[in-house]
Amino acid sequence: MQKILSLVIKASQDFIRHSEEDIKSNAPVLNSFYESISNIYIPLLEMIEKLEADNIKYRFALVLPPVLCNMLSDPILQDEYIKWLDKRNDLGKAELRRNKENTEICAIINKTIETNKKLKADFENKYNKNLIPVFAEYMTKGYIELMGTCGTDIFMPHYADLKEIISAQIECGLHAYRQYFGIMPEGFWLPEMGYTPGIEKLIRAYGYTYTILDSRSILFSENVPEAGIFYPSRTENSLVIFARNRVIDSELFGENGIIYSECYRNTNRDIGYELPMEKLSPLMDKDGIRYSTGFKYWNRCFKDSGHLYSEECARKQAQKDAEAFVEKRLNTLNKAAELLPKYNFVTEICTLDISKFRSTWSESIWWLEEVIRKAADAGLSLLSCDRMCDEQYNLEKVEPYFSAGIGQGYGENLLSSKNCWMMRYVRKSCERMIDLAGRFPMDTGLKTRLLNLGAKELMLAQNSNLARKINRSEFPQFAEKRFKESIAAFTSVFDSLGSNTVSTEWLTKLEAKDSIFPWMNYRIFTKKR
């Protein structure tokens, strides 16, 4: 029997305004975006290249949301990334002078500088500043399955009664996928795995074959499928359902998760959080807030006031952790295979969140590469879910339960006392958008521009990452400002259409600032008859 380890890697990205006047004020959040390029996206492409060179057989799923694709394709941000790498290295040079007495720290600084130089060279020359076509190439070669998703990360259960809103988000995501990658995806990534009964009809209506839910959705359903989470099931309308194993997330990031190994880099101990502001001036504004610089000299061991980071030691640890991880998956799948002898395969779905990788685990891509190599060595098949849907219409039927992959199982962190104030604004804007799409079905010219802008702003405000950030106190000022900017812009659109007056200067300026979804057609919000 085939034993399949299915890895699903999910990126997320909030839209960050980056016009000339916004770049400075959004520097901390842009810093996170550039770090994702340096620490995740380019290393991920390098990993795929190495595995291809070594003829390893594998295929995993990748979710690159439309906002991320938009930002990675934006020439302004591409150039800004290069400048950012240069600024980091200017800081590195200052760090070499400051630490000239300590050869061990200087070695770490030099390594960081060299890495930045290589990233810059590869980004400019090898990838022509645009990573999207490179991902598309690996998709064509079959190493990755690119899953579709919504326009922004909307948490669908909060909009279950507003079907036009959910449909518009799915349609926008699908359109973006066609624009960037040119094909129709098979799999749909449900943002935050937020499922509520009924949305399978909307997902299926757009031609998707499968989606992935949290195991709770399957195990708490009224009729639990015979094969549990180890084999796909289907909804009444034959949307194939895979269940991710939620235990894996706590194995990695939980209280005793493997990311806390002492050898790994301490991502909190960055000079950006430790040095006086004036020493960080090449990179950050002395009156602004602090953020990471990439110069992190310490590992996670806290004995004797800390130990210096050793890449060699961290790489060995990543190998060891990958081996133990694969061993666990193999044991589980062997047991499942024994218990399910009638089935042609058993699978374990492992979802990996890139934002957690970026912020907490510097060695994540080394670990991932080792997992793929060791899983292949151990005889596990590494496949994405689209290769497991052959029996789509014969699978056991299930009525999945309301659930999510975040919060305490239901996305509670998106509706907490810190962020619940957002709900009234975004829901009111949703109602208004549906109304506007119905009232102005055939309009052209300025009204169309206004309505398209309103549609974009609403989608940006629906991004659940903003609520999550406010709840987690992760750049909460940015998240609140971003949300309010979008709601304010949407409200201005609504008022302009109501009063039949518009400032074209304002409209043009905002269209340039929120340069996302250039193909937007507000009619996707129209009530379906």
Binding site: F402, Y410, K484
Partner: protein
């Protein structure tokens, strides 16, 4: 005790060691591996407890002229809406138009209530059961625990003025997720047998987690 006002903007500028020192001044024990983000959140919480309102003032000025009056939380429209926070809790929020708001504020004995109606069918006009919840003054939102075993819920916004009650608005009907009986019947030490595959799927871990996080809500 530090005399500087504590707000997010000022804390974000401090180095980690300065934050630790400040935490020390406030008597907060800081574990060595504490994330900077959590430390800032902890200090803000202390500041809030000490009635330091600076944070809110800074947030208000952050949004300066870009923030239109829309963020007052009202749309001059009487409306009540609800969203499921999880299968046991409902988040209810409402607005009042100026006429309704005036009527209520003019009569000191008046009150605003939420009537939580359970329905057997979403098209039912009359509720199967209903109970009322007094709304908190100065607030336009409330979390409400959903009675166990209900299939559909509708919320009515009711004003009680001079002893007479009037339904001002009602929400759309919300379907309450219906899952396995396990979800609604969690008991510590309850002996439930699952097939080995379901055990291997992590059922026990999820039930334990569900009990730990939701025992007061679901059972």
């Amino acid at each position: 005790m530090n005399e500087e006002p504590i707000n997010r903007a000022s804390l974000e500028k401090l180095s980690f060691s300065d934050l630790v020192q400040l935490a020390d001044e406030y008597g907060v024990d800081v574990p060595e591996d504490l994330d900077r983000r959590f430390l800032i959140a902890e200090l803000l919480e202390i500041a809030e407890e000490s009635n330091n309102k600076e944070e809110e003032m800074v947030i208000a000025t952050d949004n300066d002229e870009q923030q239109p009056p829309v963020f007052c939380g009202n749309f001059n429209e009487t409306q009540v809406s609800c969203v499921l926070r999880n299968p046991a809790w409902l988040f209810v929020f409402w607005n009042l138009n100026s006429n309704d708001a005036a009527k209520i504020s003019e009569d000191p004995s008046s009150s605003l209530r939420l009537r939580i109606c359970s329905l057997t069918d979403p098209k039912d006009l009359k509720p199967e059961e209903a109970f009322e919840v007094q709304t908190p003054s100065q607030s336009q939102e409330q979390y409400v625990l959903i009675p166990k075993g209900k299939k559909f819920i509708k919320v009515e916004l009711i004003s009680v003025v001079a002893g007479a009650s009037e339904v001002l608005a009602f929400s759309p009907v919300i379907a309450i997720p219906q899952g396995s009986s396990l979800v609604n019947d969690l008991q510590p030490g309850r002996d439930v047998t699952f097939s080995p595959v379901i055990e291997l799927s992590g059922m026990q871990e999820i039930i334990t987690e569900q009990y730990k996080n939701h025992r007061h809500s679901f059972s």
